[in-house]
Symmetry: C2
Subunit: 401 residues, 2 copies
Amino acid sequence: MSLVVQKFGGTSVGDAERLKRVAGRVAESHALGHQLVVVVSAMGGVTDSLVQLAKQMSPAPPSRELDMLLATGEQTTCALLAMALAELGVRATSLTGPQAGIVTDGVHTKARIVNITPTDIVRLLDAGEVVIVAGFQGQTADGTLTTLGRGGSDLTAVALSAVLKADVCQIFTDVDGIFTADPRRVPDAKQLAEIAYDELLELAGSGAKVMQLRSVELAKRFGVVFEVRSSITGLPGTTVGETTQMEEVLVRAVTLDVNQVKVTLVGLPDTPGTAARVFRALADRAISVDVIVQNDSHHGPTPTTDLSFTVEAADRDSALSALDGRGLGWTHITAEPIAKLTVVGVGMRSHAGVAATIFETLASLGVNIAMISTSEIRIAVVIAREKSEAALCAVHAALVA
Amino acid sequence: MSLVVQKFGGTSVGDAERLKRVAGRVAESHALGHQLVVVVSAMGGVTDSLVQLAKQMSPAPPSRELDMLLATGEQTTCALLAMALAELGVRATSLTGPQAGIVTDGVHTKARIVNITPTDIVRLLDAGEVVIVAGFQGQTADGTLTTLGRGGSDLTAVALSAVLKADVCQIFTDVDGIFTADPRRVPDAKQLAEIAYDELLELAGSGAKVMQLRSVELAKRFGVVFEVRSSITGLPGTTVGETTQMEEVLVRAVTLDVNQVKVTLVGLPDTPGTAARVFRALADRAISVDVIVQNDSHHGPTPTTDLSFTVEAADRDSALSALDGRGLGWTHITAEPIAKLTVVGVGMRSHAGVAATIFETLASLGVNIAMISTSEIRIAVVIAREKSEAALCAVHAALVA
């Protein structure tokens, strides 16, 4: 008998009919004799509606009360799922995050899990019940409701898998698994049977929105192997874990993010601390900077330099105003829309030549490279948006297909 | 500085705008320097929607999960009210029933309060916060969510008033208070400044749906004086407590319930235990019987009797089927729609003559009395529905106006 943790997200539990289908899927797993813990998100659209209601009360509602409000979304789903299972003859009990023993810090709307005491979960499992847990929520040590922020239900599932030492953790979602590239853009893209934590972390940071970084980091830290799979098809998905049998695999996946902007500060005084002031100003506004390139200094009476970096398009205006009027001394500032192509693979650690293949492929398409950034398992190139889709397909064909 | 408990029901918090008006009212009370505990119901229609969702999952959802689901309604309202108060600059904190320390038995969907440990409420009040408590809910000693059944938010308000020894308990509702008769039917009806618990209990059992019996009983048991008042007008309402200065007042109010049916079992064998079997059969289906009259026996070889009683019109079919095929031995059964006119007043305890006035008034209208039932502070007469509205006005004019 295995202990299986399953998580169903907002699309999978989008309405009453889908929730009943989820119940059917859970009942099948239960019929196989598994002990089951099922983590659910709020039904699709519910969280947004609640946020709208909150906005009607206050443009900036207190975060403690926002948590109190939002937590009702998952509580609703888990109660309804327990009812649907009862109707199928499966004994099931729903628990809120606090009832499941999830204790967090007090940072409302993005709390971190401090510890989990799953006494009631274990008792119910031992009694043969399916245990349904409201994802995304917990409580502080003194009993105040908290929520875990975006992707919080994945986090609940991974954390419960760790503490319960689950045999299997399945993250059901509206995609079939993780692909070598976005199949809507790259017809050759293939679903991956497995991927390493580090690769998925790089992908998550590169515009592939399969899972939030936090859940993958937590899974890596506690060695929780999990499977991302479709709630619709029921087919096997992609298993995420430590690298195994990966000697042969050089590149795991290629992603393209076209929602990037390249900001350039021209004629910045080339003095110590200038770059620090630039990125502190951005950090103060919680703007994430990805690729950074500093050109050679222009020598002269006052040495200057050109500093370029990429930010998400949504952060463009905020970045520009953060850097304006700070006395940073640049002569002018530009912001141009660009695309970022990222190649990820733990096999690259011990292999040279991947960068060369990328550059040759782009050159053959006449695509100019504006910036380059590399890590042990990632190569990212910043290019113009126009030919970026073609570049994605070509690089995928050269390295993965 | 007084400690004030205020309760706002479903209509008062029907939508975002009304909820903001409630916030304004609470802020006014807070500005007067009172310590405030505010109990709220689910927003109008929310509970019904949740029940509909539950029905989509299962025609008969498990009551534990129904409680888990329904409790989200009040939690939503109290979080939103806290936000609206914050927007008005009033420091407010919302608490679920369990967080407020409300412990109940485990009878889901109609749990009874076992005890309340208002540690967090007191701490927050002492810190100058307005405390908003989700009505209608609590948890068992082992942490399972429960709901208190119909009128549960009133119950929460009264119980909190008792345990906190509140100076004032205000039940805000969509009526101005309690009247000598339904003002939609009786133009002469006047609002009462005060009424005794026992009178309100009789009224609640006589078709005047101001409050559920349980809350009034609880208030009486713990001596909680409360005021029923309008959430719209802001005018003084009706104070409910022990009788005071009531020597002069003979009759407090007159009610009319036209949703009654008189059931008659004709030719019932007049043997010991027959009536018991009839009313046990009704009790088994949770049918409340009000007025009961047994006519004289028809003497003969087998003595028989005619037994009549009134039930709510909604229970008519259930009552008839409960009494059919039980071998009770009646020759035939009738069920006719009737009206019940009830006169209530603690002053009647020491005064004769009220019944005579009622009978004379009805006789002058040509209204026949089908059944009569009396208690120390109540006289109820069952009459035909046709002239019942006129009878109500006439009796009100004779005894109250």
